[in-house]
């Protein structure tokens, strides 16, 4: 468990855009109980905004008709929900067994050096954030890196350099 208890207010009201609104209404029909929409609604929020604010938590609770504390509970329990804005490129490096055996550390060390941040931090210019994550289910092509959700397999420092050069 990691401590993820801090919410940030934007000071602006939050609501779903048209596309998310439609998707919310489509999905809620699939469940016999409305609270099942907590995780999907958090995903919709994160897709729309990139992260989940205090206002978004209140909005989701309202939309579903549940307590904000229940939404908060899920937002903090599940580690993929971002409770503050990430970098433009959010880089996740798998730290678990098979990736560790195939030298994920070289990748982490390179990134720390190159971007100048530790895992869990965001670069000052907001371009990059770095995270070490647990097994990503691609152990046969270790080590594995995910950038903004996209998988990059059999990584090494050279490949990573090339990849970073392509990002603008």
């Amino acid at each position: 468990m990691s401590d993820r208890s801090q919410l940030i207010s934007t000071g602006e009201p939050f609501k779903f855009d048209q596309e998310r609104d439609t998707e919310f209404e489509r999905l809620i029909k699939r469940y016999p109980e409305r609270e099942s929409m907590i995780l999907p609604a958090l995903w919709l929020t994160q897709e729309q905004e990139g992260w989940i604010s205090a206002e978004a938590i209140a909005y989701i609770a309202d939309r579903i008709g549940t307590f904000a504390s229940k939404v908060f509970e899920c937002a903090t329990f599940y580690t993929m929900y971002h409770l503050h804005p990430m970098g433009k490129y959010h880089i996740c490096v798998c730290r678990t067994l098979s990736c560790w055996l195939r030298d994920k550390q070289a990748i982490v060390d390179f990134l720390k050096d190159e971007i100048g941040i530790e895992p869990g931090q965001k670069s000052e210019d907001g371009r990059f954030s770095l995270e070490e994550v647990e097994c990503l289910g691609h152990c046969g092509t270790a080590p594995v890196v995910q950038i903004n959700g996209e998988f990059h397999e059999e990584m090494d420092v050279e490949k990573l350099k090339a990849l970073l050069a392509e990002l603008n």
Binding site: M1, S2, L27, R30, Y31, P32, E33, E35, S36, M37, I38, L39, P40, L42, W43, T66, K70, E73, C74, F77, Y78, T79, M80, Y81, R95, T96, L97, S98, W100, L101, R102, V133, E134, C135, L136, G137, H138, C139, G140, T141, A142, Q146, G149, E150, F151
Partner: protein
């Protein structure tokens, strides 16, 4: 050694698309299915000997038989696509390369257990995979294989994808149900088992993706054809994931029962870089490690693994070469399980935290012999004292390294030994 039962369509170009999949037999079992009685389907699956591929190896047909009859409540099917056990990477091939095989399996299972609502729980990190899966489901709806009348038969079936968001414990079947209900993934005390009281308090069957995807073959070719693969008690084939220090890591479909080392050698190209073998993890990170000696006699089936005091698990084989520092490996493992503890039970939440502190101290070179014994004691005091077996998934393998590679741990804490080693060099 490789076979193509589940992976028969994996190499086809666009085999994930309905049109191509159909040309190669997808949904071909449905007429036969609906001509059978649900009980007959369950009997056929029981006869096939298919065991759950999520890790526990419980016979699929037997589990379905636990559903109470005539409760008046809906029956739910939850397909476990959480695939988070370290070293496991098989189910996603099905989701991406042959999703219609799984959807056909869902239809078969749903008909057998009398369910009209399926939730597929997929881990949040599977971003492109969830899109591929949803696209296939959309296709199946459009073609009438899902919806009000499955393939024109008087059977209704809705399939919904539910995304997780980064929690290994949601692979545990009741943690998974909590997560679908919109809660933290904290596993439930059993009994009641989900078959009696599961999702929304209704009878629920939870099966792994690969278990479900094995059904179309069993129904089409029959239980005997399935049993032609594997051993007497461990029938069929499995998508094995081989990772770590081998020349050719990857996913390979093999019948159960093959000698482990022969598979490592012939299928995965052997230990990489010409190095020697130090150990093998046979079925995902939570299964006890095997020494090279033990590995010599083990075969890839449930019985042989149990005889060697380890588990078949999820079929995620990890090969460790001579350079692996077992103390640091254990640190990596404990870190994972501690991080993934749901926090509900004190022995797991606090105990794994203590174990992590102790192993870190040992790795820093500040440990004492009593710390190694304390780790062993903690394993005993944590295991089976919690609601779910996440804690045991940590203590069982950790104990195996502590016992089988004890001298490495001792070397970290004993000055005598480290100076002796230094003097020898």
């Amino acid at each position: 050694m490789e076979v193509k039962i589940l992976s028969a369509k994996f190499d086809l170009e666009d085999g994930h698309k309905l049109e191509i999949a159909k040309q190669h037999g997808a949904y071909g079992t449905l007429d036969k299915l609906f001509a059978m009685k649900p009980e007959e389907v369950i009997e056929e699956v029981k006869a096939s000997g298919l065991r759950g591929r999520g890790g526990a190896g419980f016979p699929a047909g037997v589990k379905w038989g636990f559903l109470p009859k005539g409760t008046g409540k809906p029956v739910y099917l939850a397909v476990n696509s959480d695939e988070s056990e370290p070293a496991t990477f098989k189910d996603r091939y099905i989701l991406v390369k042959d999703p219609h095989m799984m959807i056909e399996g869902i239809i078969i299972c749903s008909y057998a257990i009398g369910s009209h609502d399926t939730y597929i729980y997929i881990r949040g990190e599977y971003t492109s995979q969830v899109k591929a899966l949803q696209a296939a489901i959309d296709e199946a709806y459009e073609a009438g294989y899902l919806g009000d009348k499955v393939a024109g038969h008087d059977f209704k079936l809705e399939v919904t994808v539910h995304r997780g968001a980064g929690a290994y414990v949601c692979g545990e079947e009741t943690g998974l149900l909590e997560s679908i209900e919109g809660k933290k993934g904290q596993p439930r005390a059993k009994p009641p088992f989900p078959a009696v009281s599961g999702l929304y308090g209704c009878p629920t069957i939870i099966n792994n993706v690969q278990s479900i995807a094995s059904l179309p073959f069993i129904l089409e070719k029959g239980a005997e054809a399935y049993k032609a693969y594997g051993t007497e008690k461990s029938s069929g084939t499995h998508l094995f994931g081989i990772s770590g220090h081998v020349e050719k890591p990857g996913m390979y479909e093999l019948p159960l029962g093959l000698p482990l080392l022969e598979v490592v050698e012939k299928v995965a190209g052997g230990v990489w870089k010409g190095r020697t073998l130090k150990g093998v993890i046979p079925g995902g990170s939570s299964t006890p490690v095997l020494t090279p000696d033990e590995a010599k006699t083990v075969t890839l089936d449930y019985e042989s693994m149990a005889e060697h005091k380890t588990m078949f698990g999820s079929g995620g084989i990890v090969v460790l070469d001579e350079t692996v520092d077992m103390v640091k490996l254990v640190e990596n493992l404990i870190y994972f399980y501690h991080h993934e503890s749901c926090g509900q039970c004190t022995p797991c939440r606090e105990g794994l935290g203590w174990m992590l502190k102790i192993i870190k101290k040992v790795v820093r070179g500040e440990g004492e012999m009593s710390d190694i014994n304390l780790l062993l004691e903690l394993c005993d005091n944590i295991e089976m004292k919690t609601v779910c077996v996440l804690s045991a998934a940590c203590t069982m393998p950790v104990r195996s390294y502590l016992v089988k590679f004890r001298d490495e741990f001792d070397a970290y804490v004993s000055e005598d030994i480290s100076t002796a080693a230094a003097n020898q060099e």
